[in-house]
Point group: C2
Chain length 211, copies 2
């Protein structure tokens, strides 16, 4: 895989998807911007799970039907907003220097992991949308997951942790363990261990076996 996907804010992503359709009216852009802004405001105040379509359209000053003319369903807007957040984390990671050790690698991933696990609702939605195809066409979260693996490949190329497997396989493994560490984190109120403490042993065993 090569890194073809660059950052997109919610609006830009929408534009890209419709780039080959007929031109959009200015009114359309304004309405969508109001809806997104209203949703972000609600989320800011009460969290992702608490977002209600009724509340969003009320604040945006539109009818409910307008919401669904702009977004396939509630989840589609959530995906847009969460995907944009994920992209800002990826931007920072891509701009930063490649981690030189397993510990540094895990450490670098923590801000992203913290956001993904900030709400159970967020984590579940991300997992649900991380695989495209079932949800017609590829969405922002699936795109972001592609960027993640691309970045891990870059890290693996710059600093070969393992030489017995390809960088792509190595990258997918990092990703799998990152998900595992986050998922496990939710399991235990008891035995409260940080995501980093869960991730490091996985990655050591994956990236530096027999050592």
């Amino acid at each position: 895989m090569t890194a073809v996907n660059k950052k997109l804010d919610p609006g830009q992503f929408f534009l890209q998807k419709l780039s080959m359709a007929k031109a959009l009216q200015k009114r359309t852009l304004e309405t969508r911007a109001r809806l997104i802004a209203a949703a972000e405001a609600v989320i800011e105040e009460s969290g992702y799970e608490a977002m209600r379509v009724e509340e969003v359209v009320l604040r945006a000053g539109t009818a409910k039907g307008t919401f669904f003319a702009h977004f396939k369903d509630k989840d589609a807007l959530m995906e847009l907003i969460i995907g944009a957040r994920l992209d800002t984390y990826l931007d920072e990671l891509e701009a930063a220097p490649d981690p030189k050790s397993v510990e540094a690698l895990a450490q670098a991933l923590m801000p992203l992991c913290a956001f993904m696990t900030s709400e159970r609702y967020v984590f579940d939605l991300i997992l649900r949308y991380s695989g495209a195809a079932a949800i017609e066409a590829i969405g922002p979260i699936a795109v972001n997951f592609g960027r993640q693996v691309d970045l891990f490949e870059r890290w693996g190329t710059a600093n070969r942790f393992r030489t017995d497997i390809g960088v792509d396989l190595q990258a997918e493994g990092i990703h799998a363990f990152m998900i595992q560490a986050m998922a496990t984190h939710f399991c235990s109120l008891h035995n409260a261990q940080s995501i980093n403490d869960r991730l490091v042993p996985y990655l050591k065993a994956w990236l530096a076996p027999n050592s």
Copy 2:
């Protein structure tokens, strides 16, 4: 971890949860059995995603409120039914001889994986309930995931694939890659690769590095 959890059908699981509460009336048992049977019939005919509470109570001959007196919500019944299915697969795996190679290990997991990925809805629900605690108290699917890891530990103890890491870590890795293989499977209508073909390279790299 030790294997403390044996198979439970939906009814048994419910009983266990309430074992220390006051005795249940015979009527209660019958009603719940009718609800579960009705739900299973609907699922048999139309799949998990198509199950509707209204349809279930209609077939069971109860009022809607009765459904929610027996199950916290629709997902709780789904978890019971899906968890029971998962348990039958685990029973078979536990009864079978330990796989002697990575290929055999992956092969042994295929029936379980096939069920888990039989519907996107099923896979998402399993992931959502695989971590307990957030969903008050541990449910059948989380219990089953514990059984899975316990079994992988047994396999790893019987046939040490890697000696540089503990059997528990080894088992968690197998689990992580199993999830990864299934999740990736949903991503691509294009590039249709079997779950087994996805899982084997992961497990080879995990269980037999440098070879």
